[in-house]
């Protein structure tokens, strides 16, 4: 029947939150329509669908809107039985995965933003903090990959892979533009091999925004940081 299972994703190319939902949909093989929003001129639809935050991403499933990337991802996992399973079925394992998902969101995302938006001493401090938190993540991930070499495929990629990929997937590019090291391969080898394995997937490669657009955005952010720090 036409109109059944109609999925629309409202996002922006630069939003890591929208990227998460895009990856979840593609991994599950769910066909969807993508609507690029202009955040300086938000569509009436977006404002209607997410009146509380007026942000992307918003998923619209058969006309019913959902906001908040993590809520959307759990919804996708619960309503679509296709593999991969984005969260484990076992309640204790689910709790562990949710714990690390929140850790990446609350501890790494915020610090990463500070790294990108600051300069000089403030940036050095933020980088130090980021490296410490990545160390914590490294230790935590040893529990998920006990033999130290993650093998990631379209069949086993889950919410944690989606989270780390949307944040640090382009870390080499980020390091290049920022001119600083944000991941230390000697201190966090598991993290590096995990990210490498994820980045190798064709689905992830083709979902990444064009290199020049990402570089331009990062340069814009860092230039603003330098301007405001030298004012």
């Amino acid at each position: 029947m036409e109109g059944e299972n109609k999925v629309i994703l409202h996002g922006t190319w630069s939003s890591p939150y929208a990227k998460r939902v895009e990856l979840a949909l593609k991994l599950k093989g769910i066909p969807f329509l993508y609507v690029e929003e202009d955040l300086k001129n938000k569509s009436l639809l977006l404002l209607n669908y997410n009146p509380v935050h007026k942000k992307v991403p918003v998923l619209v499933h058969n006309g019913k809107p959902l906001a908040e990337s993590l809520c959307i991802i759990e919804y996708i996992d619960e309503t679509c039985n296709n593999s991969p399973q984005l969260l484990p079925k076992d309640p204790y394992e689910r709790a562990q995965v949710r714990f690390w998902t929140i850790f990446i969101q609350q501890k790494l995302y915020e610090t990463m933003l500070t790294v990108m938006k600051s300069a000089g001493e403030a940036q050095e401090k933020a980088i130090k903090e980021l490296l410490e938190k990545l160390q914590v993540l490294e230790e935590g991930m040893k529990g998920f990959f006990p033999d130290g070499s993650p093998v990631i495929s379209n069949q086993n990629m889950g919410i944690l892979e989606i989270m780390i990929c949307s944040l640090l997937g382009p870390y080499k590019l980020q390091e290049e533009v920022l001119g600083v090291k944000i991941i230390d391969p000697e201190k966090t080898p598991l993290l590096v091999s995990w990210l490498t394995a994820i980045n190798e997937l064709p689905l992830v490669k083709e979902s990444a925004p064009p290199r020049d657009k990402t570089v331009a955005l990062l340069k814009f952010v860092t230039e603003n940081a330098l301007k405001s720090s030298s004012a």
Binding site: K64, I72, Y92, R94, F99
Partner: protein, 221 residues
């Protein structure tokens, strides 16, 4: 030896969420009060990364973060469920729980800060209350969970009970019944639910403790 243990602190709304969930489902548990100024080796062992309460320990396995704990409890013991069965309604419930988790810290900031910082916290609290009033409580339901409370109601508990005490401690007025009629009705109904009514921190004791804390915090600045 108890199968379920809860490490908590008697003034924390996050701890009460877990207490209400366990009691609603009839799960016996051992409660361990933590002194947050002198954290026990047990807490540091069970939550080494954040060193925070609540921590639920089930058969020796620790679970941290109240929202994660509540979902775990709901999945292990499905009776008297805390989330809607319909996946869409469940996703909307999770949206509001996240909103509550993200915005509630502004409430405790009211008594922990003064001057400009406090003014900012007042503004944040007002915005949160306005959002709940305008977008969260539409539809004429008694509770977020319908006729019965669910995880979303529990997530907003700091608005129902803690805000009023904190306002008195902080000397600010954020919530006014006539400004937030839907929220006011929800608060009155929530506090009448037997599980909630019988399991709330003593108001006078909390008032005294928070007044003391505020004095110490502002003196150290």
């Amino acid at each position: 030896m108890a199968v379920v243990k809860l490490l908590g602190a008697w003034t924390s709304p996050y701890v009460y969420r877990v207490i209400w969930a366990l009691k609603l489902k009839g799960i016996p548990y051992e409660y361990i009060e933590e002194d947050l100024s002198n954290k026990s080796p047990l807490l540091l062992q069970y939550n080494p990364i954040h060193k925070k309460i609540p921590v639920l320990v089930h058969d020796g396995k620790p679970i941290c973060e109240s929202t994660i704990i509540l979902q775990y409890i709901d999945e292990i013991w499905p009776q008297n469920s805390l989330l809607p069965t319909d996946p869409y309604d469940r996703a909307v419930a999770r949206f509001w729980i996240k909103f509550a988790d993200d915005k509630s810290p502004s409430i405790s900031k009211l008594y922990r800060t003064g001057g400009e910082e406090q003014e900012k916290a007042v503004k944040e609290c007002l915005e949160m209350l306005e959002t709940i009033e305008e977008h969260g409580l539409i539809g004429g339901k008694k509770f977020f969970g319908g006729d019965k409370i669910n995880m979303v109601d529990m997530a907003f508990s700091s608005v129902a009970h803690w805000l009023e005490v904190i306002q008195e401690v902080a000397g600010v007025k954020v919530f006014e019944a006539q400004k937030f009629p839907r929220l006011n009705t929800w608060i009155q109904n929530f506090k009448q639910v037997p599980i909630i009514k019988e399991n709330l921190p003593d108001r006078d004791k909390m008032l005294a403790l928070l007044k003391h804390r505020r004095k110490m915090l502002l003196a150290s600045k």
